[in-house]
């Protein structure tokens, strides 16, 4: 816990991390999908930083652009129909969007690794676990076959898979979902990357396994000093594991801050809605959960209004005329809402 506080202190003292050279800086990223139904603004001007060794959460409901942001960092957006049309992604001083394909390939798996949502389909069914781990080592580190084998066993041991020697010879269908996700994590850690992007790593797993996997990821990233972007719609995950949180809605970040700020002092009605729609240990028993009504907007038809306005309890006239920009609220906390300073009073009124 002390390491986490220290990091947060450092973060606050450095004025939101701007003085330190960030590991990853995403600046005004825009990724669109060109479909027959129109242009989908999947990611529309997203900016955030990730410092070395830090865990950053990206939260939001399905289709808000969380995963597309992650795939844009990896440059794995299927093109066509998708394309990153604007913005900048700086990673370890390199501009990822202007790299040639070969240089980008060398970064993938070596410096930035990814853990996907579906462990059942993310591993190749016709290759052994050992082959799938060793080929990454072979590609990026060029080490001998014996060393690959040794390292692969070591990795399985690290992610808590016993009897690695036997497991390496097995195929994905021999393993359970939780085990496969452990293999995915081992794969991500294989070349000791600087950053791991975990795209809903626990969504497809049983609740008991979810906690195990998250603890494992937290433990390993802290121990190895790997930065982690964890994409999730689970606010419990955020509160427990993240240093910083970005809340996304309709392709934009609507609120960002430290986990503590966002969890205990949300400024955006959407964040507030997310928090009141899940049960919390610090609330009185029997308190009703309040869902967010309505549907997320059609990303092909975003007008000049706050995208959350149709579902917002606190919407005013201005919300339908102007899109609120992301503005500072407190040290390190930003929100995109015209009424972010009145939220506390509004919250009381509705209760």
């Amino acid at each position: 816990m002390s390491a986490k506080i220290k990091r947060q202190m450092l973060f606050i003292f450095c004025g939101g991390g701007k003085i330190l050279d960030s590991l990853l800086e995403i600046d005004n990223l825009r990724t669109q999908f060109f479909t027959s139904g129109g242009t989908v603004m999947a990611v529309d001007g997203v900016s955030y930083d990730v410092q070395e060794g830090e865990t950053v959460a990206v939260v939001g409901e399905s289709g808000c652009g969380k995963s597309v942001t992650a795939l844009s960092i990896m440059r794995l957006i299927p093109d066509p129909p998708g394309k990153t049309v604007g913005g900048r992604i700086r990673f370890m001083g390199k501009d990822l969007l202007s790299l040639d394909d070969e240089s980008m390939r060398q970064i993938r798996g070596r410096n930035i690794a990814m853990v996907f949502q579906e462990p059942m389909t993310s591993l190749n069914p016709v290759l052994t676990i050992g082959r799938q781990i060793s080929e990454t080592l072979e590609t990026h580190l060029g080490i001998s076959e014996e060393e690959q084998q040794k390292r692969a066993e070591e990795l399985l041991d690290m992610v808590g898979i016993a009897d690695g020697k036997r497991r390496l010879k097995q195929y994905p269908h021999h393993l359970s979902g939780g085990m496969r996700q452990r293999v995915m994590i081992a794969l991500a850690l294989a070349c000791e990357p600087k950053l791991i992007i975990a795209d809903e790593p626990t969504t497809a797993l049983d609740v008991t396994i979810q906690a195990q996997i998250l603890e494992l990821m937290k433990d390993l990233t802290h121990r190895l000093g790997v930065a982690l972007i964890v994409i999730t719609h689970n606010l419990g995950v955020v509160a427990r594991y993240a240093n910083k949180v970005n809340v996304m809605y309709a392709g934009k970040i609507v609120e960002k801050g430290t986990a503590h700020q966002v969890y205990y002092n949300p400024r955006h009605p959407y964040t507030l809605g997310l928090l009141s729609s899940v049960p919390r240990m610090d609330q009185a028993r029997g308190q009703k959960l309040v869902p967010i009504f309505g549907q997320p907007p059609d990303l092909t038809r975003l007008g000049v209004e706050c995208a959350f306005r149709p579902r917002c309890r606190f919407a005013i006239d201005r919300c339908s005329r102007e899109i609120p920009p992301l503005e500072n609220f407190a040290d390190g906390q930003q929100a995109a809402c015209w009424r972010m300073h009145e939220i506390d009073d509004l919250k009381k009124e509705t209760l």
């Binding site: 993310s122 069914p125 016709v126």
Partner: protein
């Protein structure tokens, strides 16, 4: 794996037995009689006595069950008897033609597989580019064109072009020369029908490869492979192709077995003395013994190809071994 193969081989026995019963009964349900055909062939009128002698000679008057078991007993000892029509040993008659048919089928399969996999994969990777359109045009044309018609075109093309270039028309040899006697004479005869049938064959397999590849390339594990930073050629060859090959192998297997017994018209066009021609001849002559032997041969080929396909399946996809 070993147990799987043994189990599959044992399953061949009931399949072949079923084919034997079917062909034996169905043939005898066809109206007409080989002796009538034989005798009437000389003038239309035949002697009743001669007919009885002929039928007695061929053993057609005996009870069906006796005939059946006698035949099966022979088959089990690889003794198929003599052709009712020519009186020559069946093994010899089939042996003559089997070589030719097998050679054409192997040649067509080999070249079609090579073409299909390389074109299909390229077409899938370059989806919706001019390369893809070209490959699709090539394969649609191949499916639309009957191979006997392509055969006629090839023959005419050869005649006309050799006439134009060398002054006299060249025609492929009609007499079959085994490949170990004179490879050049052999290939100059066999390559053309192989080409004519192989084109259609490769077209079917190309389309199958393309669509299987397109499907596999959208799988999550391909995205994982990309996220691992693997080289594109490794992603295609190791990760995608191995998964996409399953349906392609099925198509190749079926087509191969078909080529071994069904090349009736193409053989006619190229004037080849193959299994297809023998098949048609013996059915229309009511040559029971020959037809039965040929059906058993084709059934065996189908079963064997299926077995090979299944073993390849299990080898390519570890999940199948346990099902």
């Amino acid at each position: 794996m070993f147990r799987y193969i043994v189990k599959r081989i044992l399953l061949v026995i009931p399949t072949l037995l079923g084919a034997a019963v079917l062909v034996f009964l169905l043939l005898r349900m066809i109206p007409g009689d080989i002796c009538e055909l034989k005798l009437a062939g000389t003038g239309g009128y035949f002697d009743k006595e001669a007919l009885a002698i002929c039928q007695k000679e061929l053993g057609l008057g005996r009870p069906l069950l006796v005939q059946f078991f006698e035949w099966i007993w022979g088959v089990m000892r690889f003794d198929f008897g003599v052709s009712m029509w020519t009186n020559r040993p069946i093994i010899e008659e089939i042996g003559l033609r089997f070589q030719l048919s097998l050679e054409i089928a192997l040649l067509a399969t080999f070249s079609a597989t090579l073409i299909a996999i390389s074109l299909g994969v390229t077409s899938a990777i370059k989806q919706d580019t001019w390369i893809d359109y070209l490959v699709r045009l090539f394969s649609i044309a191949g499916i639309a064109m009957p191979s006997f018609w392509l055969g006629i075109l090839i023959i005419l093309g050869l005649l006309i072009s050799t006439q134009a270039w060398f002054g006299e028309p060249w025609m492929m040899p009609i007499e079959y020369t085994p490949i170990w006697v004179d490879p050049i004479a052999n290939l100059s005869q066999v390559i053309w029908p192989a080409l004519a049938t192989g084109y259609r064959y490769s077209a079917v397999a190309t389309r199958m490869t393309r669509s299987a590849m397109l499907e596999v390339l959208r799988e999550d594990y391909i995205r994982t492979a990309r996220a691992k930073g693997l080289l594109e050629k490794v992603i295609i060859n190791r990760h995608a192709l191995k998964n996409a090959l399953l349906p392609v192998i099925t198509v190749i297997g079926i087509e191969f077995a078909f080529l071994m017994g069904g090349l009736v018209v193409t053989e006619q066009v190229f004037n080849l003395n193959g299994l297809g021609k023998l098949f048609v001849g013996s059915v229309s002559n009511n040559d029971y013994t020959m037809t039965q032997a040929l059906v058993m041969l084709v059934a065996l080929i189908f079963v064997a190809t299926n077995l090979v396909v299944d073993i390849l399946y299990a080898w390519l996809d570890p999940r199948i071994r346990y099902n």
